[in-house]
């Protein structure tokens, strides 16, 4: 009974994002018939749909961290920068070491770098009380310089490494390796948050920080943890991106990722006011944004104009979810029913 209650709650939150995904798939079928074309080359499924999954990874991983941050009433504008730092650490390891040594250095370096990025934000916010938007904005700008320094003071660093090439471009059981890895990370995060009590403590913190503190919730530690997680997830996204393109770029890696991540969270049904959050919704939101981007490209919208449509559609989805608008709509339908009755 209780389980059913919360399942129902989850479904009401996810119904609009899911409906939007279905709608976009439908529109794609009309405007871009080639969208559903799938072929198998070299044992890998290929086609625009696969590309959607592959590219949505770079939105999804930072968005998972962003979702938890937003649930605490915060925001993290530095996820793109953390990704650039992660990519830089990967490129640095692959140009400094060879073979297995590069992997052994890169993975801990990326995770450690992401952790440091997140902890820096978390300390600024939880210990010094700086507003999240300000603290992470500062790091968003400053961190790009760190990415440059990691790469030996160059803007772009290219590398070749078989293992990372497999990670970024290889195939496993018909799908890109990158998709499997990201799915595993996403499942890991969801399990970590929902099987442990972290989810509840995050929701309490975001719903009413005062009440949470007086109930003994370690609010500062919760904040530290969510920003740290956001940093690590973004850095890992940066590692995957670098593996895919065989390069790291101090300016372009992770550019505007924070905006896509915030949009994915909001479209996914988590409110910016904090409290209740849904990671599954965020995953759907990330796929949705990628679908939208591809659809706009397919119908020939200039890539410079794409953000306009993206913004409008995100706004529309949020409006549909807005309680005020839904109430007004319900009232209107009620009146019409009364009039016709």
């Amino acid at each position: 009974m209780n389980q059913k209650g919360s399942l129902h709650q989850l479904m009401t939150r996810l119904i609009w994002p899911i409906a939007a995904v279905l709608l976009l798939l439908l529109i794609n079928a009309v405007v871009n018939p080639g969208f559903y074309h799938l072929s198998v080359t070299d044992g890998q499924l290929r086609g625009p749909l696969v590309l959607t999954l592959q590219l949505s990874v770079y939105i999804m991983l930072p968005a998972l961290g962003m979702c938890l941050v937003i649930a605490t009433r915060g925001v993290d504008l530095s996820v793109g920068t953390a990704a650039a730092i992660g990519a830089a650490a990967t490129a640095w390891a692959c140009t400094s070491y060879a073979g297995g040594a590069a992997v052994a250095v890169a993975v801990p370096a990326v995770i450690g770098a992401g952790l440091l990025c997140g902890l820096f934000n978390g300390v600024m916010i939880s210990k010094f009380g700086i507003q999240p938007i300000v603290a992470t904005l500062a790091f968003m700008v400053a961190g790009r310089g760190i990415a440059r320094l990691i790469m030996g003071n160059t803007t772009q660093l290219q590398f070749e490494h078989a293992t990372f090439d497999w990670l970024g471009n290889g195939t496993l059981l018909g799908l890109p390796v990158i998709v499997w890895v990201s799915a595993a990370v996403a499942v890991g995060v969801i399990v970590l948050v929902r099987v442990s009590a972290l989810g509840m403590l995050i929701e309490a913190t975001g719903d009413n920080p005062q009440s949470a503190r007086l109930a003994g919730v370690p609010v500062a530690r919760v904040l530290l943890l969510v920003y740290a997680l956001a940093g690590v997830l973004s850095a890992v996204a940066g590692l995957l991106w670098a593996s895919n393109y065989h390069l790291s770029h101090a300016v372009n890696t992770g550019k505007y990722w924070e905006l896509d991540a915030i949009m994915a969270v909001v479209i996914g049904g988590t409110m910016l006011t904090g409290g209740r959050f849904t990671l599954l919704g965020t995953v759907i939101g990330a796929v949705l944004i990628q679908l939208l981007t591809q659809m706009l490209q397919a119908i020939g919208v200039d890539s410079d104009v794409t953000p306009l449509y993206k913004g409008l559609i995100v706004l529309a989805i949020c409006l549909v979810q807005a309680p005020a608008l839904r109430q007004a709509l319900a009232d209107y339908l009620q009146r019409r029913r009364e009039l016709t009755a």
Binding site: G5, S196, M200, A204, D207, S211, A215, G216, V222
Partner: protein
């Protein structure tokens, strides 16, 4: 006796389910300081909001200088000559004193859209400051002045135009003693200039130091208006709390408290010199197992502050807490919770519940927080815990999954209580646990507290209703003006006994001057 400057008649304001003001009548004379008093929920704030045009009354009227007026907005009220200064200084902190003082009616050169004549603006600002006895650099930003001087600048701004009535809403709450004396002296001078001053405060000393008449509201109703000089403090406290003195005297013996616990019981917590600057003078006390200690006093007396310091909700600036032989200064509630202290705060909505979380989650929250995030309570244990307390405390909700924000106040309060009972605390601190909830729930909560005390929990209980405190507690500390002024137990512990202590508390520390018109405070900044 001068005719009234402002007459308020039949003022009524309804909120859903509450009569916030119910036919209130009184008048303010020119050249008088009129104290408006009442406990929480008496209707003072609502009355001021109606008077200053923040919200319209549902019935009744204001007659200003013989003409009925109906201020529709704060601006309209100001144009009528009704000025208000709030507790929180309402100036633009980054702008200069002069800018703040002339804002909205800046002197300009050559017509209305000409450039501002700063020379004249500064001269005008200086003249306005003179009126309130402040000498300050008018080009300095307001934020660079001490808070007390800021308050005086706010008053200078309020009375700059053609003002008749000046409403001061708890203006002294954040001031130190010298600043209070200066403000009271200014009120005396403004009275001399013919202004009618409505003075809202909960500091009785200040009421007696400066006011000419006192009006008391209680539960939205007008209780009465008295000449200050003819109203003994004890009687005033009686009016505010709704207790007739003689009746109380007669009845009080029947309410004689339970016998004080025998000396053998064990001390659970010892506070030594616990205090916080600006909130509470240092207090030492002991909490004993199985004893309920009441904290009595009017709003703002320091009772809530003491409770918060015991729990670590606020950092103490002096003193320490000793439990289990270890002496510490709490730096966070978590430390206090780890030692077995529980705290049900006064502000249920802002400090008690997490409104969009379910009843189950709200009940399990403290227990889960203590276990840490790596040791989650299983869903089943949470549900069992919540269902058990929902049944035991009679929380009215369809099930534990309903967001707690959708329950009524009394049921929310029970759920917050359940959160702490689930911790099996050794010290249970309850700040107004029965406020704003219906009588049935009140009785249940009181019974519950008594039961916990009987089981050996040390209870700290705060309630405005003195009868509750005297009925439910073994021992009562009486607070007034941020100090503990008395301790009662055994036969002395009666409603009238507590009221005597509140009223008689020594007035040696009362803010001077008693003769505010003979301005003692100077004009330095």
């Amino acid at each position: 006796m001068s005719p009234p400057l402002l007459r308020i008649s039949g003022l009524t304001k309804l909120f859903p389910g509450v009569r916030a003001l119910d036919g209130v009548d009184f008048d303010v004379r020119p050249g008088e300081v009129h104290a408006l008093l009442g406990e929480n929920g008496a209707g003072k704030s609502t009355l001021i909001k109606c008077l200053t045009g923040v919200m319209p009354p549902d019935a009744g009227q204001f007659i200003l200088d013989g003409r009925p007026v109906a201020p529709s907005s704060p601006q309209a009220a100001q144009q009528l000559g009704i000025q208000t200064v709030y507790q929180e200084v309402n100036l633009l902190p980054q702008l200069s004193v002069a800018e703040n003082l002339v804002l909205g009616h800046e002197p300009r050169r050559g017509g209305r859209i000409g450039p501002i004549d700063w020379g004249r603006a500064k001269r005008e600002a200086r003249k306005q400051l003179e009126r309130v006895g402040v000498e300050a650099d008018v080009t300095a930003p307001v934020s660079s002045l001490p808070i007390g001087v800021q308050q005086l600048v706010a008053i200078a701004r309020a009375i700059a135009g053609d003002s008749k009535v000046l409403v001061l809403d708890e203006p002294t709450s954040s001031l130190d003693k010298a600043e209070v004396a200066r403000l009271l002296a200014l009120m005396g001078r403004l009275r001399g200039q013919g202004l009618g001053i409505v003075f809202v405060t909960h500091f009785l000393d200040q009421v007696y130091a400066v006011s000419d008449r006192i009006t008391v509201l209680r539960g939205g109703k007008y209780v009465g208006t008295w000449e200050t000089s003819g109203l003994p403090q004890l009687e005033l406290v009686g009016h505010m709390l709704g207790r007739d003195i003689d009746e109380v005297r007669k009845l009080s013996d029947k309410h004689a408290a339970k016998p004080a616990s025998d000396g053998s019981v064990q001390t659970v917590l010892t506070a030594t010199g616990l205090g916080r600057t600006g909130a509470l003078d240092p207090v030492s006390l002991q909490l004993r197992a199985g004893e309920s200690l009441g904290l009595a006093g009017l709003l703002g007396s320091g009772r809530t502050e003491l409770a918060r310091l015991l729990f670590g909700a606020d950092r103490a600036s002096t003193g320490s807490v000793t439990m289990d032989g270890q002496t510490t200064q709490w730096t966070s509630p978590r430390q206090a919770i780890a030692r077995g202290i529980a705290f049900v705060p006064e502000e249920r909505k802002t400090e008690g519940i997490c409104p969009s979380l379910s009843v189950r989650e709200n009940i399990a929250l403290a227990l889960q927080a203590r276990r840490g995030w790596l040791r989650p309570l299983s869903r089943k244990r949470q549900t069992d815990l919540a269902d058990g307390y929902i049944k035991a405390l009679g929380i009215r909700t369809p099930d534990g999954e309903k967001p707690i924000g959708q329950l009524s106040g009394g049921n929310q309060q029970k759920a917050v209580l359940a959160r702490w009972l689930a911790m099996h605390p050794r010290v249970l601190i309850l700040d107004e646990p029965t406020r704003g909830i219906d009588i049935g729930a009140k009785a249940e909560i009181e019974a519950l507290i008594a039961k916990r005390a009987a089981e050996g929990v040390a209870v700290v209980f705060i309630a405005t209703e003195l009868e509750e405190v005297t009925r439910d507690c073994h021992r009562v500390l009486v607070l007034r003006d941020q100090r503990v002024v008395g301790e009662l137990s055994g036969d002395e512990l009666t409603v009238s006994g507590v009221m005597d202590v509140i009223a008689r508390a020594d007035r040696a520390n009362a803010p001077s001057p008693d003769q505010p018109t003979l301005s003692a405070a100077g004009g330095d900044a």
